[in-house]
Amino acid sequence: MDIKLERASYIYPNSSINSYESLRNINISIEAGKWISVIGHTGSGKSTLMKLLKGLIAPTTGHLLINGRVNELSKKGKAQIISDIGLVFQYPEHQLFETTVLKDLVFGPKNQGIEMKEVNQRAKEMIKLVGLSEEYFQKAPLQLSGGEKRRVAIATVLMMNPEVLILDEPTAGLDPLGSKLILQLIHDWYKAGGGHRTVIFVTHEMNEVAEYSDEVLVMNNGEIAFLDSPLSLFLNHDYELKEFGLDTPDTVKLLQLIEQRFGDYIKVESLQEEVVLREVIAYFKKQGAEV
């Protein structure tokens, strides 16, 4: 599914409260199968943009296009929720309300009117995908640990079988291991789609950005500042990012440190940890070091 925003802007109706989060002149085209990370300081409009893409709010001006067609209702300024796009909010575990995990999982698909047999089948797949077992079905969501709750909450959105998954800071407030598990499960889901699934991932964790994304969208004061590959963005625009109050991934810091110390710029194909470390080790070996 391709998503496109054309000259879109959004101003909150009661502007006194949220005015700093409004969006201006957003032009963006998201092709199917991409992993896009969204970064930007707090209040730069990331969350608002995500709601716009899901159709929870309609652009004040401009259009939202799905597969090249204008989302009809969005033209009339009315919100129309797009069911093929899954949206995981910040702290999604706060939205669990049923008495058992299973009931919470089937809640979304039931609203979509999907047959129970199929829904139960999906529930079994999803609980496995998020790294839990079917024993969890009958537990109360409140009994689970923070990380488990978060995984169940993400599963409730995946249960609706979206083509595009939008996640708004899914790892916020979790310990490193919990974060890693969440990222892993999202990546597994993404890969299982065979190039048809899209992930839009809001985060403050630059290492996550470098590791997974095809493209990085940088938001600043309600506008798109950059849309670029992580490699080109972090290596060519690190100064501007610093101006926005944003960090760079550890791999970039390592490359820059080597450049400062030894005056050599190591060429890399991506900023993934494994790739960069391989190149760095190769460089030092060439210099005659024993690694």
């Binding site: 109706p13 939205q95 669990l96 809640f107």
Partner: protein
């Protein structure tokens, strides 16, 4: 949703009401409420309406903020009118159909009660719109100090009041967030049937209750951690002072009570 909530929503401006001491505002409000409860004839209602309109104008706060506060009580007001029209007995029968009988007095009674509630809500919102919740609680605390002798926990009560007022907008914002999230999970709030509509709110009420209780617990811990209730009496960063204008406003309010009392006595 947030724009419909009035309580605890302070609007900054520089009107006379904003500058008054919260204590004088509370005393005056108390007087005005008594005055409005004394009304029993048409001239009283006209005078009271003029007074309220005058105060709203002086407050420099846009009228829409007052009107928004009235929205949630419209159903109660409508119910009041119908109740009076249907069940109050009078002398001048206007209309009768089997057991249903409507009197002229009942219509007048219904609408005058609604007008009275309208005026009371407006004048009360004037207080909450022009006074910061914390100032209000502070003023309230000082006014209630004498009750301390009766072992009434005045300070705790005032803190409780301040927190309640402060957290209403926060919880409403939380509510908005939860509604959006559950919409994203496919909840349909536009279902026509009443039962379905009520049921569709369960996914909202439960998370809201849960997060509110969690928030309350955290807040209680934070207050404890900042040594609340550890020593003798808390001091204040901001100390309230009565000024000339405060005495004047209280004087005017007492005068208003007198005028409405006279109006009732004269009965014109």
């Amino acid at each position: 949703m947030i724009e419909n909530v009035l309580i605890g929503q302070f609007i900054d401006a520089s009107s006379i009401f904003h500058r008054l001491d919260p204590r004088s505002k509370l005393i005056s409000l108390f007087c005005i409420i008594i005055a409005f409860l004394l009304i029993d004839n048409i001239s009283g209602y006209i005078l009271a309406s003029l007074l309220v309109v005058g105060c709203i104008t002086l407050s420099q706060i846009p009228l829409r903020f007052f009107l928004k506060g009235l929205k949630p009580i419209l159903i109660i007001l409508a119910f009041t009118v119908f109740y009076h029209i249907l069940f109050t007995k009078g002398e001048n029968l206007l209309f009768q159909y089997s057991i249903l009988s409507i009197y002229k007095e009942s219509i007048i009674e219904g609408f005058s009660i609604v007008l009275r509630i309208f005026l009371l809500v407006l004048i009360t919102s004037l207080l909450t719109l022009t006074t910061k919740p914390l100032d209000l609680a502070h003023g309230f605390e000082i006014l209630c100090k004498p009750l301390k002798r009766l072992r009434f926990p005045v300070e705790q009560f005032s803190l409780m009041l301040a927190i309640t007022l402060r957290f209403i907008p926060t919880i409403v914002m939380e509510l908005d967030k939860i509604i959006e999230a559950q919409k994203a999970r496919g909840v349909n709030f536009e279902d026509k049937s009443f039962v379905k509509k009520v049921l569709s709110y369960i996914p909202i009420i439960i998370p809201l209750l849960f997060t509110s209780i969690q928030r309350a617990e955290n807040l209680a811990n934070a207050i404890d951690a900042r040594a609340y209730g550890d020593g003798s009496g808390r001091t204040r960063y901001k100390v309230l002072h009565f000024e000339n204008r405060d005495y004047q406003v209280i004087g005017i309010s007492l005068l208003v009570v007198g005028v409405f009392f006279l109006l009732r006595m004269v009965g014109g």
